[in-house]
Amino acid sequence: MTPLVELREVSRSFGANCVFGGVSLVIQPLENLALVGPSGCGKSTLLRLIAGLDPPDAGEVWISGGRASSAAQVLVPPHQRRLAMVFQDLALWPNLSPLDNVALGLSGTSMANRERARRSMESLELCGIGALARRKLSSLSGGQLQRVALARALAVQPKLLLLDEPFAALDLTVKAALYEQIRRLSAKERITLVMVTHDPMEATALCSHGAVLERGTIQERGEFSRLLTNPLSETLRAFVKQLPPRGRTD
């Protein structure tokens, strides 16, 4: 099976600071993966390399069997990678309504305006916020804003959805509802999730697989059920301590 994402020996530095070096990672279709690790280890940077927002300093990024980025070059621009991303601060354009946010997010497609509006509305309804389509963003709650960001991401019908700690600022009830919604939508639309998180509950609720980025390399990678029974990295050991007993056995 052709991997959906393949990182081959990618490295990234900021000035003299090497964030990670020689990282290789394969993500198969529908293999929802949580990328975990300590703060500043480069998880979000890795996500940006997959998205094509930044090129790697060395190594290659392959998407759906095609070379998408190589050393210092983005070969396939982000919007042609069949992916979407929900950012940590959601990155909703604050002057536009939810409907316009989603519609402008479809700019990369060749849809006519009417079709674009219809798809945007469908996507907002899919995320349960169709009624808020024309409201001001400033009048929406945190959970509603998350759903707008999700609707914008899903409207482009991506194969891969990148989530960069999008639920960090939400309370537990809203989080639980969103996990359920994302799980349902990813299964229905056959979307693979790659999520950056610090939260073990979030990681295990949404993803079947995990990868630990520590000290500039991938320390462990595999199914959570296996990883959590015998954690090798510091990050996963800390994860296991935080998970409730039932979560560990699940």
Binding site: L53, Q88, L104, G105
Partner: protein, 515 residues
């Protein structure tokens, strides 16, 4: 299609854009340097120039010290505490910044005469000039202190407050805002060096008057250019190191991602001291000179003649202001986008902008006059027309517009452009649908501010205006010696009233932006 992602990526175009923008702003001054090195160029600065420099430096130092001494405490109280009438008083403080300094000087001079004060008293000579320039400097220091205090977070203040009490909060904030306040005070002093108005009216003319006389009365362009460059060099020596020293902290305070300051605290002493302090400043900087204008106007208000003068000059005044605002805001947007979020680039740009703002405006104006004399006749429309006045004024106030816009662009989310790139929103569409609408409120405020400052600028317009095309302040400046005092007073009151209306509009726009 150019991706919106370029807005958040490094690129050669950023440095090139900044170099081009700053080069454009500095070009007229650079043109002026060339002829100095030609064979047969004069070398002297004219009799009395060193004395004039000495007088100007004395006034500049006095204005800077008074501005800091009054402006810093007022700025601290205003930044930290809530008190009655805080908002309107802070707004009214801006009025002296937006009105030509010579109008305030006329007011002070009239007040002295009407109140029967001594001819060599506080409101004339060097002390009168210091008060007139401090009327501009004090609000500048108050605003700089307020802007710098926004870089202090609520938790920092709460920490100090819990540990050591309110006096420690004041000391802690003062330490943090001091570079900005000192810079603003020095800037006020330096700006007074190149302003001929108050000195001429209050009988203590300095170096700026010498330059104006060399150019307009002696018709000695080379002498005026040499004097202007000498003044420019003096300003550079004072301002450049100070600007570089303070730019690091200033850029962090002004352009930080989280620029939401701490909430205003409520204490009983601040409720009493705050209104009195700000009201006292308003009386000193605004009410006293206004009283000087109102006094003769109460005897006779020459409205019909004044309105005839206003009508005659309104077209030019508006055109110069609109051109200056449009060009400054356009260049400011480009510079702000080119600077991006790189802190080193922001610091360099801020330093350069502060230095440009401090340089004598006559440098740019005389540079354009020089360029006009060298350029072929076909380019007269570019160098000798009304457009030229607007363009020179735009370059003069480009720093103000750029700093405001840079603050807005750098406090926006970097993920907006990244999200646009992921979704295939091209650069042009992203600018049109997202960035430009988001910048519009700040750009509007910047345009209004530049328009008002440009209107208040007299020296530049005097030097580059086409014959018979003055703005309203230049017309007042020209007629003030010969026209009846009540006509001058009426004209001044009309001008100040207009500035107050535009200031109210700008404040309303700001409060809409802040929700």
């Amino acid at each position: 299609m150019i991706s919106s992602g370029v807005l958040e990526r490094p690129g050669w175009w950023r440095s090139a854009g900044i170099a081009l923008g700053l080069g454009f702003a500095a070009a007229p001054a650079l043109i002026l340097i060339g002829p100095l090195f030609t064979v047969g160029a004069g070398t002297g600065f004219g009799a009395g120039f060193p004395d004039a420099v000495g007088r100007s430096l004395l006034v500049a130092a006095g204005a800077a010290l008074l501005s800091l001494a009054v402006g810093l405490p007022a700025g601290l109280v205003t930044s930290l505490y809530q008190f009655p009438l805080r908002r309107p008083l802070v707004g009214v403080l801006a009025l002296p910044l937006l009105v030509p300094s010579f109008l305030w000087a006329i007011g002070l001079a009239r007040l002295r005469v009407e109140a029967g004060l001594a001819r060599d008293g506080l409101l004339s000579g060097a002390s009168g000039c210091v008060i007139a320039f401090a009327a501009l400097g004090i609000p500048l220091v108050v605003y700089a202190t307020m802007a710098a205090a926004r870089g202090i977070t609520q938790s920092q203040l709460d920490g100090v407050r819990l540990a050591t009490g309110e006096s420690a909060v004041l000391r802690y904030t003062a330490r943090n805002v001091l570079p900005a306040a000192v810079l603003a005070a020095v800037l006020a002093g330096v700006l007074s060096l190149s302003d001929p108005g108050p000195g001429q009216i209050l009988g203590y003319s300095g170096v700026a008057t010498q330059i104006l006389v060399s150019f307009s009365a002696l018709y000695d362009f080379d002498l005026a250019a040499r004097q202007c460059l000498a003044l420019g060099a003096l300003v550079l020596v004072v301002v450049a190191p100070l600007a570089w020293w303070s730019a690091d902290r200033l850029s962090a305070q002004l352009f930080g991602r989280d620029v939401r300051g701490a909430k205003l605290y409520r204490t009983l002493p601040a409720r009493i001291v705050g209104p009195f302090l700000l009201a006292g400043i308003v009386v000193l900087t605004t009410v006293l000179p206004l009283a000087g204008h109102a006094w003769p106007a109460t005897r006779r208000l020459m409205l019909s003649r004044a309105f005839a003068e206003v009508t005659r000059t309104a077209g030019n005044t508006l055109l110069y202001a609109v051109l200056a605002a449009a060009i400054a805001v356009l260049c400011g947007v480009i510079l702000a986008i080119c600077a991006g979020r790189d802190q080193r680039r922001q610091r360099l740009l801020l330093t350069a902008l502060l230095v440009l703002l401090a340089l004598p405006p006559a440098l740019g104006a005389l540079g354009v006059v020089q360029a006009a004399s060298l350029a072929p006749q076909e380019l007269d429309f570019l160098f000798r027309g009304r457009f030229t006045v607007g363009a020179v004024l735009a370059l003069r106030f480009l720093p103000v517009a750029t700093i405001l816009l840079l603050r807005s662009t750098s406090s926006s989310s970097p993920s907006w452009a990244a999200a646009a790139a992921v979704h295939g929103v091209g650069l042009a569409r992203y600018l049109r649908r997202v960035l430009v609408p988001l910048l519009t409120p700040v750009a509007t405020v910047a345009a209004l501010l530049v328009a008002l400052l440009a209107t208040a600028e007299v020296g530049t317009v005097l030097l580059v205006q086409p014959p018979g095309e003055p703005s309203l302040p230049v017309a007042i400046f020209t007629v003030m010696a010969n026209a009846p005092e009540s006509l001058v007073a009426t004209l001044c009151l009309i001008y100040i009233g207009g500035a107050a209306i535009i200031l109210s509009l700008a404040m309303a726009a700001l409060s809409v932006e802040n929700g």
